[in-house]
Subunit: 243 residues, 2 copies
């Protein structure tokens, strides 16, 4: 069972200010908690159903686990389904940016679902590093982690001043615009930075000066734009097909 | 202002059983209502802010419009933002399936956000026809329409027995599997059917017999799967790049 204080803590961690205050974040749901364990990320506490504990004894052998029924987990969870496990995890210190491969830079992507989906598709295409502007969604938001389907454990997300980063970056800087070179024709490096803007504002002007390869996903129909996560996935597919 | 009865009707239409009962559905938000008008789809009634009415006088000249403040629209809307207009629209009779181009067939895609995103990306790539199994999300669900960002007005969605349809279809039937031919290497026709399964169950066995071209999006990293809407967009991009 979760004590009153534990319930209060789990609920509080849905909010950024309490994550910051406690230095902790939540990982919820069977798939995400398992990926956390597989990646051997330090966990402070796990609450899980007896069934989860039974099935995953091996992965759990170094963890502090409290067994709870699914109903009490659902009561404190922000998920609507799949409440087999909840982990409380210390927020790690921000790591340095790995510039060796392809890096995604997100400018003002504030929707948690989009950020989570971008982390998932970046992981599919083998990226390791995403950098986000200060006004992007918090990558430790439970909705982001849930949308990553476990990929949060393999992608390093660093919040930074994109303008400062790009001004020191030497290499290809791709930026998604509506009037760049077609991604069906562009030649891509397997290292570089791919800058994606928000759906409402695109890439903001202060970053445009750093983009040396503007690119576009060709349109064939009536839609005016694509969702930013969708556009990111399609561009990554075009980059990787030349591997 | 909306009368009590109008408020009740708008709220009811968020639910499928009342949409069916009244033969009506909702289109909400500036972008979606505008696309409805541009496509000259028959509208029963529009509620809109004075600002919306002023800005779009031309598009609105054949419509029955009641002016309301944004606050009263927000009170009945299912959207969290962008409540400049709400339209009540008669559900059209189900149209016949246009088999002339590329058709997407969705098997058990129950998440409204995914269905809406698929309609939007299908429109981007110039498709006209989507068919959905009986257990897919209702394409007239307000969450679906909202996620289409106006593309609902250009894509014909028909609910049908996919097995029956495919058993009579002559042509290429592509199906997304984890072990098909790489979409980076496959040769595509610009007509055919692309079958996409749900994230939890994939393409169900009773449809597999009709798929003559199993395809796969190559993975380069650790993620086990892609969101179904994302996968649909990436496959469409691969099909259209050979145009």
């Amino acid at each position: 069972m979760l004590s009153k204080n534990q319930q209060k803590l789990v609920r509080a961690l849905a909010q950024k200010k309490y994550r910051k205050q406690h230095g902790l974040y939540l990982v919820q749901g069977e798939k995400n908690v398992l990926e956390l364990l597989v990646a051997q990320i330090e966990v402070q506490q796990i609450f899980a159903t007896p069934q989860f504990v039974n099935t995953h004894q091996n992965e759990l052998k170094h963890s502090k686990v409290i067994e709870c029924d699914e109903q009490s987990l659902s009561k404190v969870s922000t998920l609507v389904s799949n409440n087999a496990a909840i982990a409380i995890v210390p927020i790690p210190e921000q790591q340095s940016i790995d510039k060796s491969g392809l890096v995604i830079a997100l400018d003002g992507v504030s929707d948690p679902g989009n950020l989570g989906t971008i982390i998932r598709v970046a992981d599919w295409y083998g990226l390791k590093q995403i950098i986000v502007s200060e006004d992007c969604a918090d990558h430790l938001n439970p909705k982001v982690i849930s949308a990553t389907m476990g990929s949060f454990a393999r992608i390093n997300v660093v919040r930074t001043d994109l303008s400062h980063f790009l001004s020191h970056y030497k290499g290809a800087v791709y930026g998604a615009y509506l009037d760049g070179q077609s991604v069906h024709k562009a030649e891509f490096n397997q290292s570089g930075v791919l800058v994606m803007g928000s759906e409402s504002h695109g890439i903001r002007p202060h970053l445009s000066q750093y983009i040396n390869q503007p690119i576009t996903i060709p349109a064939f129909g009536g839609a005016e734009s694509l969702n930013v996560a969708m556009a990111t996935g399609i561009i990554l597919d075009n980059i990787r097909r030349s591997v």
